[in-house]
Amino acid sequence: MSNINQTKSPRVPEELKVLFGEVNVGKYCKRHSVTPEEFQTIRCQVIERNKVLPKNGLDMLNELKARDSRRLSIGYANIDELLGGGLQPGDITEISGESTTGKTRLCYSALLSITCLNKENTALFIDTKNGSCANYIRTLFLESDQFADARERGMDVDSISDRIHIQKGCVYEDDLLNVIEDLNLQFQQKLIVIDSISSVFSPLLGYNIDHYPYSRITIFIRTLRNLAKKYNITILITNSVQYARPYDHKSVFSINKKPALGQTWTYLTDTTLFLSLGDDSDQRVYINRQGCEILGVPRICEVLRSRKNLVVGRYCTFYMGYTEFFPEFAAI
């Protein structure tokens, strides 16, 4: 039946209908001028194409070892350690925290770190709050110690700027879905950052409203995850906080705040990092390689939840300045 292989493959909606037997065989055969026997072959082929093959346990263990070696750095070694080596392609990592704790800043760091690895990597930043600044990202690359090695290796700021894309205006949920669905057709990004998901979905959720919005979030993440697994994309999502009852808190450092979007959301991400504010009066100075004095404010990053064998509760403290992240001992 090799000539059936060469017929044009049916478009996705039709394929599903064939699979589930929802097609009127007579009409289908007339429209596509195939005989009923050929239709049966097509149906078998559709089933073949869509079925899932089993894996054996040993293969899975080997795969896991191979995966670990492909982790991507987020740009700061101490946080990479909390993540077990870095961000895992195919996984969804969440960064949550109050405002100004450094979530967007960490995302910029990840964007630059991925595009600095080689000349082909591209990254997409989906900005749902219009709070991104292209100039700041470029300045980070040009002045930060984190990327000094990349600069020395000859990585050029214009090449980086061409490979980082920012998608603005994604304020509503259908905009987000459109962008994600379009990704199937665009060039392959290695990293997708969504900043922030709470501003898109929080207005839909509420105390007295039914559970329909929760299913929207689940569907969105499921689509995103399928994409991530299929093309090996790393996903980083920022989330804000909501009020937590005193006995309910999970973070040691933030007494009454927990990640927003409720309990449904906790099942949808693989790892959650929680950023908290340190004591703002404790500011330290760091002198970077270019000789600039950078004033840093203290922040704490802890692993709040993880489904992937990370140690929950581990944390690191660091100082966050204009272009640098630095630990306490590096300050003067």
Binding site: T100, G131, N135, V171, S199, Y207
Partner: protein
């Protein structure tokens, strides 16, 4: 959700040189290009480029833009006439497309700032201003028209100092401010939801001031209702700011926070309405008084985080907001 008419060509992924050619040929908005055929476009740009432009438009979605193209876009800013504050906000003032919050104790000058910005947004292009109109949403009743006239006259006098013979007079200034008086949060919500229609009828509006956003939310509203309504308003404002390319300025009040980092008995003055507003705004400026002088301090910034540690002094005189004449040392 977004009106195609109002989407400017500069938002598409087209090289700046081509955008200029399209502007010269008369195409300014997405809507104009919808009718164009590749042949008519290719008279100015190459056929390949014309095809790619048309393909992007037919998609009806805005594609992501690389950092390089974002930086090359011209952005206008609304000056505050105080160079210090302009620098805090990103260089030249309140940038179009962003949401900025000003907070402070009563009497510090928030309404004055709102009035000054509503007038400054009208500065003509040939004087390097945005040449737009303003929408002023008043929830407290503090918009006094005599004061507006005073500041308008002050602005005219100052601009006449710089350039001779500007066609900028009191009648035109006042006629380009659209004033809405709101009496409760339901009216506010309704107004913002229907702002699209108003903005389509008045495409020259480049600024929306809400003075103050906190007033109606500090009554007996349930915390979760308040959070949800604020999030909806914030989401809509982000959408409007991005699609219509205008600046949104929110005035916020102050509240007392018990506890916090310094211990359970300490109280600090913080901006009202909590984290919700903080997440939505890209820049937040605190106006405060020290030793009888007025200062402005930036405590969240998307573009200039290095300025978050300095304060600038400003003064409010009969003619409006101005820099301080004497040199002042930056404090913390």
């Amino acid at each position: 959700m977004r009106d195609a008419r109002s989407i400017l060509l500069v938002k598409l992924n087209i090289k700046p040189g081509q955008i200029k050619k399209l502007h010269d040929a008369g195409y300014k908005f997405l809507e104009d290009l919808k009718e164009a055929s590749p042949l008519s476009l290719s008279k100015g740009v190459s056929v390949q480029e014309a095809l790619s432009i048309i393909r992007q438009i037919k998609n009806d979605k805005l594609p992501s833009a690389s950092l390089t193209s974002i930086i090359k876009r011209e952005t206008y800013a609304i000056p505050t006439f105080c160079n210090g504050i302009d620098k805090l906000l990103g260089g030249k003032g309140v940038t179009l497309g962003k949401i900025v919050e000003f907070c402070g104790i009563p009497g510090i000058g928030k309404t004055q700032m709102g009035i000054q910005l509503s007038i400054n947004v009208q500065i003509p292009r040939n004087l390097f201003g945005p040449e737009g109109e303003a929408v002023y949403i008043d929830t407290e009743g503090s918009f006094i028209i005599q004061r507006v006239a005073e500041i308008a006259n002050g602005t005219i006098a100052r601009l006449n100092e710089t350039v001779e013979g500007s066609p900028f007079n009191l009648e035109t200034i006042l006629s380009r401010i659209y004033y809405f008086r709101i009496h409760d949060y339901i009216q506010l919500n309704a107004l913002i939801k229907n702002m699209d229609e108003f903005l389509n009828e008045h495409p020259m509006v480049k600024l929306i001031v809400i003075d103050s956003i906190a007033f109606h939310f500090r009554t007996e509203l349930d915390l979760s209702v308040r959070t949800r309504v604020l999030q909806m308003i914030a989401q809509k404002l982000e959408d409007i700011a991005e699609s219509f390319e205008l600046a949104v300025v929110l005035m916020n009040q102050m509240t007392t926070k018990f506890g916090g980092n310094s211990g359970p008995d300490n109280t600090t003055l913080t901006p009202a309405l909590g984290d919700v507003l903080s997440e939505a705004c890209s820049d937040r400026v605190l106006l405060f008084r020290r030793d009888e002088e007025r200062f402005a301090h930036l405590f969240k910034s998307a573009t200039k985080p290095e300025l978050q540690i300095t304060s600038v002094q400003f003064q409010i005189i009969k003619d409006g907001i101005r820099d301080c004449p004497l040199p002042s040392d930056p404090g913390q």
